[in-house]
């Protein structure tokens, strides 16, 4: 097991190198002079030239890339072009806000997604199933920013129940300010989870062992919980894990709409102002987080499915079957 984890962690190195390579070159090959971005369009030509040298922009791209990687390996992500503050400090400062939002979003997705998915599967082709499938199609298709605006029009402006934007300070204020962004963020994921739960449940629902379980007189509730859901769980966990990773990095629109001071907003602002070090730093950080989440998901498999667990152990594939 440990060997597997270490192997996976080592595999992250080429992934991160690939990410840095792609982002670095895309950001640097798009037009726009970082020196002009820092100094503004009124700066003199001499000042711009001096700034370019200071930033090392006079060196070839490949040299700059390796300098960046070398600095990164020494824990130095550089200074933001825009505000000249440490990239690492800003990323670390904003990440918890994004994590709070992503966790709240995935909770919304789970609380809505799994029960609705189960009911849908068990009542396949009924009105209930059709309704939830249509709603989840709407949920997947609806743009986040639009849903966010609608929610804040309704709950903040018309009803006055919740703040329309911002991140509250203090526990109660924080929770109040979290509800609308979490709903906005979670809706799309919830829809994905519903569909995944439904299809995965449908796959096991007609298996022989389910009939056997029922024949043995186990209550329908127990059958659903212990025999269907547990066996249907792997694809669901995969979907949820991927969704969570996406929420961590993909909260940009939601954070912008709700003025949530997270990493997504920071990235949008940085991309708009071509703040290369900031974009690089935030992307690398998110890539690490995404890889870690994926690793955790893979490890969770082994807790759900003994067959996978046994593959990790040296003992190999023993005759441990799922009990029916």
């Amino acid at each position: 097991m440990w060997k597997y984890i270490v192997k996976r962690l080592l595999l992250m190195i080429p992934i991160l190198l690939g990410v840095t390579f792609i982002v670095f070159f895309i950001m640097n090959l798009t037009p726009g002079d970082p020196a002009a971005i820092i100094l503004g369009d009124q700066a003199s030509a001499e000042a711009l030239a001096a700034k370019r040298i200071e930033l090392g922009l006079d060196k070839p791209l490949i040299v700059r890339y390796f300098t960046y990687i070398w600095d990164m390996l020494h824990g130095d992500l550089g200074l933001s072009y825009k505000n000249q503050l440490s990239v690492w400090d800003q990323v670390i400062d904003k990440f918890p806000n994004t994590a709070i939002l992503a966790i709240a979003g995935i909770l919304v997705a789970l609380v809505i997604g799994i029960p609705v998915g189960i009911i849908s599967a068990k009542k396949q082709y009924t009105v209930l199933d059709n309704t939830s499938m249509i709603l989840s199609l709407v949920g997947v298709s609806m743009p986040n920013f639009w849903l966010g605006l609608l929610l804040s029009l309704l709950f903040a402006l018309k009803l006055g129940w919740l703040p329309s934007q911002g991140m509250g300070t203090g526990f109660v204020a924080l929770l109040r300010s979290l509800i609308l962004p979490a709903l906005t963020l979670g809706t799309g994921s919830a829809a994905t989870v519903v569909r995944m739960t439904r299809s995965s449940m449908l796959e096991v629902i007609r298996q022989d062992y389910i009939s056997t379980a029922r024949a043995k007189g186990i209550s329908e509730k127990q059958v659903t919980k212990r025999h269907m859901l547990k066996n249907a769980m792997i694809p669901i966990v995969t979907a949820v894990g991927l969704q969570f990773g996406q929420l961590l990095g993909g909260a940009m629109l939601t954070e912008t709409v709700f003025s949530w001071p997270g990493l997504g907003r920071l990235m949008v602002d940085s991309i708009n102002s071509k703040d290369i070090p900031m974009v690089m730093g935030a992307t690398i950080f998110l890539a690490i987080m995404f890889s870690l989440v994926n690793l955790i998901v893979d490890l969770v498999y082994s807790f759900i499915d003994p067959r996978i667990r046994s593959q990790y152990s040296k003992a190999g594939f023993k005759s441990r079957r799922i009990k029916v």
């Binding site: 369009d41 711009l48 001071p261």
Partner: protein, 510 residues
């Protein structure tokens, strides 16, 4: 059963949060019927609290409460008024002497003396981001603790107006020398508000400086909230989460003006949008062609439709509120005459060309409308949208046929615009992207720049406006307006035409 209980408990908790009254973010009230906090929202965060670096409007809208400048400009009369300098005299064409108010203190308790003024101006001149505002200064000398002499390289008429620009802020010497980067995040000035805290991408908190020379600000706390989504700024204003919201969407502005408990403030800005013709390229080196293109543009229609009725038709590069503005008469819209001019210029069948614009939706829409108007007179014009950095660097290099630009006369003095955009020494990066090189223009710009006689300056700018209209190296299109929305409870809010709104005299009724 247990699960149902848990579910209900969760529901109750969520419900109680949802219905719990008054968020802690709202401004709390104090005695006297006025709130002790003003909350205002803007679209972007402060880039740097260092006044010699952070020159973007959202930064200055906050930092100009923290720092003062030597002098200020009276918004209504346009006159130069004292601020840190109590008085001043112009000794000769190139020498100014300033008498600093005695007893001024920075927020950290340090005395503000002539040394700080010298340090600050020297620091501003050395800052590549904003030196263009103060680089007219040759030397700054300290005569005594409260007297400073500023000499200029050459006679420079707008000197005082430039010193009133927030970038020429006075900062504490000892505090900044100890750590040159400190102002980026821990600003100290001598302005009406002290810095309290900054939560990046979220908010800035300021507190009234009770020793401010002009009296303590009327409201104790000032909170700036960053709300990037324009529609959300309006919603936050409507729900009362903020008292003032800057820069509303045009569609929202109407809603705000119709709302019973809100007020829309709309004032002419100091921005002018214009098309620059690259005179280094044929056929734009031909005056008749430039005049024809300018004449093909129905400016009023652009204001009414593309700009949704806000703004005004431009007739010069400087806006009416700027010192030195003269109206040379509106630009004529006459497609028939334009075709005639093209014929005279030797292009009876028109020609193909490109119009460059940076990737800003409103600007692109404007160019698309203009493209159609050019088509009416037989010009096949392609609109090319460029990323801002590329737009600036490629037009600096003179690769464009035509470019759609915006310009703000931030010193409120015509010299700032005419010198940068029209003087032959300013070609390229400095602003003159029509690459005009005209002796008459240079002469008039220089009179305006150097004459200490205000009437002579105005006369020169009048002549220049008329001459430029004929030269048509730039086609001014539209003066924009600047808006803000506020609750009806807000008193004393006077929007600034650049967007550097000051709130020290603003109060919000309970």
């Amino acid at each position: 059963m247990k699960k149902h209980l848990v579910f209900f408990l969760i529901l109750i908790v969520i419900g109680s949060f949802a219905f719990a009254g008054g968020s802690s973010e709202r401004s709390s009230s104090s005695e006297g019927g006025y709130k002790d906090t003003i909350i205002f929202a803007q679209g972007a965060d402060v880039t740097s609290f260092d006044p010699h670096v952070g020159k973007e409007t959202p930064a200055v809208a906050v930092t100009n409460h923290i720092y003062d400048t030597l002098v200020d400009v009276n918004q209504e009369t346009g006159e130069i008024i004292p601020q840190i300098a109590q008085s001043w005299e112009q000794i000769d064409d190139t020498t100014y002497r300033f008498h600093i108010r005695e007893g001024l203190k920075f927020h950290n308790g340090e005395d503000l003396t002539a040394e700080d003024v010298k340090f600050s101006l020297d620091r501003a001149i050395a800052s590549p981001s904003i030196s263009y505002i103060v680089d007219f200064i040759d030397t700054v000398t300290v005569d005594d603790d409260y007297t400073v002499t500023v000499t200029t390289d050459a006679p420079y008429a707008p000197a005082l107006r430039n010193l009133a620009v927030p970038f020429a802020a006075i900062v504490p010497m000892d505090y900044v020398s100890a750590n040159p980067d400190i102002l980026k995040t821990a600003p100290v000035g001598s302005g009406p508000y002290k810095f309290v805290s900054w939560s990046q991408n979220d908010s800035v908190k300021l507190e009234a400086y009770d020793e401010y020379y002009a009296g303590e600000p009327k409201t104790k706390n000032l909170v700036m909230k960053v709300i990037p989504e324009a529609a959300q700024r309006t919603i936050a204003l409507e729900t009362g989460e903020v008292d003032i919201a800057y820069d509303l969407l045009r569609s929202d502005a109407r809603r705000v003006s119709e709302a019973r408990d809100l007020t829309l403030y709309e004032i002419p800005s100091l921005s002018c949008y214009y098309i620059t013709f690259n005179m280094n390229k044929a056929p734009f080196d031909n005056k008749l062609v430039r005049q024809a293109l300018s004449m093909a543009i129905d400016r009023q229609l652009l204001v009414d439709t593309v700009n949704g009725g806000s703004g005004e038709v431009a007739n010069a590069l400087v806006a009416p509120a700027v010192f030195g503005y003269y109206n040379p008469g509106d630009y004529e819209y006459n497609p028939e005459k334009a075709k005639q001019l093209l014929k005279e210029a030797g292009y009876p069948n028109g020609f193909s060309c490109t119009l460059w614009v940076n990737n800003n939706q409103e600007r692109v829409e404007m160019c698309q409308a203009i493209q159609e108007m050019f088509r009416e007179i037989g010009i096949d014009c392609r609109v090319e949208v460029l990323e801002f950095g590329a737009f600036i660097s490629r037009t600096t290099a003179g690769e464009h046929d035509m470019g759609y630009f915006g310009w703000v006369t931030s010193t409120k003095d015509a010299d700032y615009t005419y010198y940068s955009l029209e003087h032959s020494s300013q070609q390229g990066a400095a602003g003159n992207r029509s690459f005009t090189n005209d002796a008459k223009v240079d002469e008039l710009v220089e009179i305006g720049r150097t004459s200490s006689d205000q009437d002579a300056r105005l006369e020169a700018y009048k002549e220049l406006a008329i001459y430029l209209k004929d030269l048509s190296n730039n086609a001014p299109i539209i003066y924009t307006t600047l808006n803000a929305g506020a609750s009806n409870k807000v008193e004393g809010f006077e929007p600034d035409p650049i967007g550097y709104h000051k709130l020290e005299n603003v109060q919000v009724r309970n």
